[in-house]
């Protein structure tokens, strides 16, 4: 859902010699993502993850002569296959305990004779979760995220921050909704991960000067919020996760499109490239303000309702402390998002040169489309709720 649409929007300006390879690999990767959103079997989960990841390793390194891109690819590859091993170990233990890969059978088996298989099964789930948590870049396994996001070509970073993220959380949500009993180990573990992820992401983001790294840390923080949604498993929580992901993706696309433009034109990659945008280009400034407000979760944007539903659901499930910590973290997030907005409106531009004419029409269309999407979801969230 929504996934292919997001992809097709972004395939626009990859200025490299290997254009067709890049598109092909992106499509392979997207197919992996679609598998992850609709699996009902551990084998499909594994194949989906690998179909998603292997083309990504190549894509991250697709700037062949750039050492940063090489380094990002290598890091991502080593960490990724390391995590895959843990994922597989978890699957092997679950298989040993239950004797099946099918979700329904696993759920049945572990309910009926939990006494006999308990420890092996729980170990398996734990390892499986380690692997998944790596893929969605949550806290103890988040170290690769900023490096890879910074080193990868920008368009691939957008792809990773949106499509891959959606697929990862879709998979995690499906896994937890798959009918496993919520043993204590499991819930406490995710609780800690969620809080840790939000805090590390937000505190990390306040330290950043480079836009790409800032967005990487903010994506870690958002992963933490989505962990809350995934943790408070209920019928509504899938919908919540998807609304949040949609809101997050739309805002991220706007910011990255702008960032790519600045990086091309001015050769700048830190926050100062946004200085004075409010004067030189009101349209871009307004849309990116909207995107930042949505990421921070300010009302009438999509991000507000995404957060609202997630926290509301978690409250109903009795995770009061989790919600309180989540709200505290949102406050930290507002600090660094507003930093960029202040740079846009209250600081002098680096060079007084109108950027409007340089931005390709297609990019403007994408930005406008995303902005309209953010506002529409912010005003009519119920319409979207009904879709899922």
């Amino acid at each position: 859902m929504g996934l292919v649409f997001l992809l097709s929007e972004k395939n626009m300006n990859y200025a490299s010699k290997y254009k067709e390879d890049v598109y092909g690999l992106m499509i392979f990767s997207t197919i992996g993502g679609l598998m992850l959103l609709s699996y009902a079997n551990l084998v499909t989960l594994f194949l989906g993850i690998e179909t998603l990841s292997i083309p990504l390793y190549v894509l991250v390194g697709s700037k062949k002569s750039d050492l940063k891109s090489n380094e990002a690819a290598m890091k991502y590859f080593i960490m990724g296959s390391f995590a895959t091993c843990f994922l597989l170990l978890g699957m092997a233990l679950i298989y040993g305990a239950v004797g099946s890969f099918d979700f329904r059978e696993i759920a049945l088996q572990c309910y009926t004779d939990a006494g006999r298989v308990n420890s092996l099964f729980e170990m398996g789930i734990l390892f499986l979760l380690f692997g998944m948590i790596f893929k969605v870049s949550a806290a103890p396994f988040h170290f690769w995220t900023p490096d890879v996001y910074e080193g990868a070509p920008s368009i691939i970073t957008v792809f990773m921050a949106t499509v891959v993220k959606i697929a990862g959380f879709g998979a995690l949500a499906r896994l937890l909704r798959g009918g496993f009993p919520d043993s204590i180990l499991f819930v406490n573990f995710l609780w800690i991960i969620a809080v840790l992820t939000m805090t590390v992401g937000n505190l990390g983001a306040t330290q950043q000067k480079s836009i790409k790294r800032l967005l990487a840390f903010s994506s870690i923080a958002h992963a933490g919020v989505m962990m809350i949604a995934v943790l408070a498993v209920s019928k509504a929580s899938m919908t919540n996760v998807f609304i949040y992901l949609l809101a997050y993706s739309l805002a991220t696309i706007i910011l990255f499109t702008l960032f790519m433009h600045f990086a091309d034109k001015k050769g700048l990659s830190d926050i100062s490239s946004f200085n004075g945008l409010g004067k030189t280009n009101p349209f871009l400034a307004a849309t990116s303000t909207l995107a930042l407000l949505s990421l921070a979760g300010i009302p009438i944007t999509a991000g507000f309702f995404g957060k609202y539903y997630i926290f509301y659901n978690a409250m109903n499930q009795g995770y009061i402390w989790l919600v309180i910590l989540g709200l505290l973290n949102s406050a930290i997030a507002i600090y660094y998002y507003l930093g960029i907005i202040i740079a846009m409106y209250f600081k002098e531009p680096v060079e007084m040169k109108s950027e409007t004419d340089d931005l390709p029409f297609l990019h403007k269309l994408v930005i406008a489309g995303c902005a309209i999407g953010i506002i529409l979801i912010g005003i009519y969230p119920n319409r979207l709720m009904m879709l899922f």
Binding site: F46, I54, L67, E71, F77, I78, G96, S100
Partner: protein, 109 residues
């Protein structure tokens, strides 16, 4: 049909569990401690193969062929993964003339 699989009764499943556990740990240590990318790739292979062993042992123990089919999937994917890994390594070698992990420190912040 799977009669021959049940003849392993003389070796208890625990032994296989310990063996693959130990192999997996050796693999983890290799990835974490060694600085040479090729050795790290080999360690990752070792981890994958210890998981394969675990799958086959469980599959025999449970008298169920699904685990063995999964092993084929894993072998296939592992081959694809290592191909990509070696390609990335070749690309890096062309730029740095080294297969050491220590050059991976340009991205910080």
């Amino acid at each position: 049909m799977f009669d021959f699989l049940n003849n392993t009764g003389s070796i208890p499943i625990d032994y296989y569990l310990w063996l693959s556990g130990v192999l997996f740990c050796i693999g983890v240590m290799g990835v974490l401690l060694r600085r040479n990318v090729i050795i790290m790739l080999m360690s990752i292979e070792l981890m994958l193969n210890s998981v394969n062993l675990l799958f086959v042992a469980f599959s025999t123990y449970l008298g169920d062929a699904k685990g063995q089919v999964f092993v084929f999937f894993i072998m296939l994917v592992a081959a694809a993964e290592v191909t990509v890994g070696l390609a990335i390594l070749t690309m890096i070698y062309r730029n740095t003339k080294s297969v050491d992990i220590d050059f991976l420190k340009n991205l910080k912040g």
